[in-house]
Symmetry: D2
Subunit: 309 residues, 4 copies
């Protein structure tokens, strides 16, 4: 591969994981680039990752491994719940999160609340492969609204609430969706067996933010579980945190998981299965040590957590 080929296009995407650690990716084609009312949006085709959605300069998902991210976000809580019928998604613009939820035959309704109508329009136009028709599914309901406002007004109960949000960036649209106050509202909207899960930033580049989200959820829910998966598109291991009222995802055996996938979904998934479930929760000691660090305080509306930048 010669420099001539590399420079043939000249267009690159740089993700600044930290001020001292960047990832540079070759861009084959820019399908869209612009600014919505809420954020900067780009849809690009990477040389290596295929098509991808980028919000405020951070890759949200790419064809290369969006299934790894969305299956890891959705299925651990869905499988842990004995019979999830009503599911709420906050964020989840691409529609891939709803796509995974709807694989569960038990599901009767999925409500997806996203603040940015423009991003949804772009995703439908440029990334239809991600939603695979869920926007037309009769069980699917879309609400354009601020997720927190929606929950505050709502009186409905959900079996599972999935927070598929952008990172808590200072000045960004999401940082108040990672606080004690917010998670308390989420808890109150969950049924008795209910579980919530949130993406929780990189466990490599922002381990303390990951730990803060874990400790915040642990201060609100009787059961809190943190897990991670390697995301090539995010250039790091990615964290998730579950808050649960009664059921413990970590207690599921390999067989439990595979059995429920069979009954409830009826066929194998691309990534998630019994031994992957187990591996997701096997956090190394040096990460566990930070999660247990009592000097890390829960995030509140007054003192939110922000990604280091």
């Amino acid at each position: 591969m010669s420099i001539r080929n590399i420079s043939a296009e000249g267009s690159w995407f740089i993700e600044f994981n930290t001020p001292f650690s960047w990832h540079v990716r070759g861009v084959k084609r820019v399908l869209y680039s612009g600014t919505t009312k809420y954020q900067r949006v780009a849809v690009v085709e990477f040389e290596d990752l295929g098509k991808a959605l980028i919000l405020d300069g951070k890759v949200q998902s790419s064809f290369y491994d969006e299934f790894v991210y969305h299956e890891s976000l959705v299925h651990p809580v869905m499988i842990t719940h004995p019979n999830p019928r009503r599911v709420l998604i906050l964020g989840g613009g691409e529609g891939a999160t709803a796509r995974e939820v709807l694989r569960h035959r038990s599901v009767e309704e999925v409500v997806m609340v996203d603040i940015d109508n423009e991003v949804l329009r772009l995703v439908k136009e440029y990334l239809p492969e991600m939603s695979q028709g869920v926007f037309e599914d009769s069980r699917f309901k879309l609400v354009i609204d601020d997720g927190r406002k929606f929950l505050e007004r709502s009186r409905d109960k959900y079996d599972v609430i999935i927070l598929d949000l952008t990172d808590p960036l200072e000045g960004g649209p999401s940082y108040l969706l990672y606080t004690v106050e917010f998670y308390s509202i989420v808890r109150d909207r969950l049924s008795d067996d209910g579980l919530m899960v949130t993406q929780a930033t990189s466990t490599s580049y922002s381990l303390r933010t990951f730990a803060t989200i874990y400790r915040t959820i642990a201060s609100v829910f009787p059961i809190a579980r943190a897990y991670q998966v390697y995301m090539h598109s995010f250039d790091s291991t990615w964290g998730f945190v579950i808050g649960s009222k009664r059921l413990d995802p970590a207690s599921l055996s390999l067989e439990d998981v595979n059995g429920r996938i069979r009954e409830r979904i009826g066929k194998e998934l691309r990534f998630y299965e019994g031994d992957i479930h187990r591996a997701l929760f096997a956090l190394p000691k040096h990460i566990r040590a930070v999660l247990e660090d009592k000097s890390i305080m829960p995030a509140t509306d007054k003192n939110p957590t922000f990604l280091p930048a």
Copy 2:
């Protein structure tokens, strides 16, 4: 300026001047990116340079200093000629070269021959500020064709021929427009007082290519003159070479130049004027030394010159 701001978009353009020397520029917006029959095209808005046209990964011109490039390309030959009426442009997609030519009241006809219709369409749609309506000027005639084929077929004579071409890249569309054979055809299409000028690549990053173009033209024309100007958008000093049948641009005094600008154009230009004309031709010794290097052979169709890559 914090890294957050820098990464806000995440989209960058990298120009590989050499494998070991690259320029990285922040991109505010990508207006278009795609591939024509002949080359890869991008129209972007840079954070620092404003809107720009990029062909095969090389910035062709930007709002920041396209006037410096186009005035330096066009006016030295136009001003040297006593009464230029018929002018031929090969390349010049943006229309800015024709724009500068048409400032000269003496001009009765400008023929522009560009091979890539699609680029012309994109330029009209995304960069109308560059052509400023010349495409509608009654004196302007557009021909979509291969420049060399056009000249071989043509029997017309021109007072000035301007070669506003992409660099001679191996496998690119232009490398056969920098050879003895081609310049001989150009010479034969010039009137007795005729001059030609070509862009001649970077005098910093590809000095030997610049010298090869100079020595090639010097082997075909009785008078050859090389000059350079600093182009911020090209990240270097840029070279031009004039081939002339009789008139010597270097012999014009500061007053000659300013006088002819007054009569023939009637108002000041943004960049080009008498003392700039003089400065353009004041090449430093270490560049003159390479221009005079007899071991550098003229480029021929059999042994063309290519940009180092």
Copy 3:
């Protein structure tokens, strides 16, 4: 973090994972940079990873997570073997691989064969924290030699052979240490319960190379097992492959692993433990699919495998 701070030093390290995917890291200090008889060497202090050894432009290990790499390389085979006494290391310049081997009380002798004496000198001078005195351990024996030649001459038998080599780069010193012929020699030098392990490149950036190494070892050993771990310093998940004559590392239970660590090492390790052992071998379906791809042929001396570049 402002751009001023970033540019304060101006020195960066770029690792070209592929021509279209690079990682850029801020360098605080360059402790050494030069070229030995075999490779280019740099010892730098990264802003984020601390001190690191770089060979031929690839980070070999950094203070940030060298323990993850070296524990993942060494302990799965060592723990699987009931009583490893004689261990051979090929490569392992930093001394950290020997350091981990010597934690096992059963070990009577470790022979380390490295080709590059100069790298060893630099490591002792600039990275003593990595070897932690093993070079002085009475059980440790250093041989400066070509690893393959050494094995061909040797008649000794080893319980465990650890291949801690640089990647198989075309023209590099290591590509003939990833072939059927070489692994057959390794097998013949192993005792009846013997196991070998090799680093096997990135499972994200060079999955086919990883699969080729797996399929090559599977063609030589009755038991072959592939596993991976996330290495932040390598910017990806990293692969390892075990070849075994009789014992299967995948059959060890969480309790087996923790029990043997207790008896044989006597204290906890920083990274490796029972559930990590299990997680290492839990490869996702899309990786398993490539490992099972029968169109991927074993590498031979005539047709070696090379990293894509």
Copy 4:
């Protein structure tokens, strides 16, 4: 040139001209990298520019074109002065500025005042080609001191004062050497025919800073002249400003300059000569417009000018 070759070393230097415009250069070898009492220092060998001195992340000079910089800084004032005997240099660590001054036979004494003894030591050790023995010249006198303090204490008069300083960076060692107060001290230390010159940052990346320095000097000296030269190593055109008590460098003819070079230096220089002198002062309109912008206030100790960063 393949990516393998590029990544062979992996060490790069990035100069952040602005947060949105960076230059990336391949580093062949890092000869030294460390921090003195005043600044961060690196001496590297670039793949393209050869050996170079880097202070606080900015290339100060490289073998590729240090002669262009130092001749452009030194000779215009030296040639304008009829008989320069006593010359003061503030800064000028590499010794190349003194080297050019000492080419003038009229010179009886050069005093060089630099604050950073450690940089001088490193330059002598790693870049002796720059000073070419001037540190041993009987007419050369070195003073390790703060340049401004030295001038405040000194009662001596100089024919020429050359300010070869680092850029006015906030928090850097030099920003108080670009103010009305400082230039007034300089003026008072000049003989009646005396001239001073200062480097004045990039005319491409920091045109307003260049203009501020010009307008500051113009507020202190009866005659102020700004000029620029293209510096490949600085990736831009570079500015200089002369302050003069009586003599006007712009009034010298091409012949004056060449004549004085002959008598006073006795042989040709590598870069500077009559027509280059003239070209240096031929600033384009868009730069002159900013220099004449009356809204740009002179810099004072209370309101200094800083490089945008």
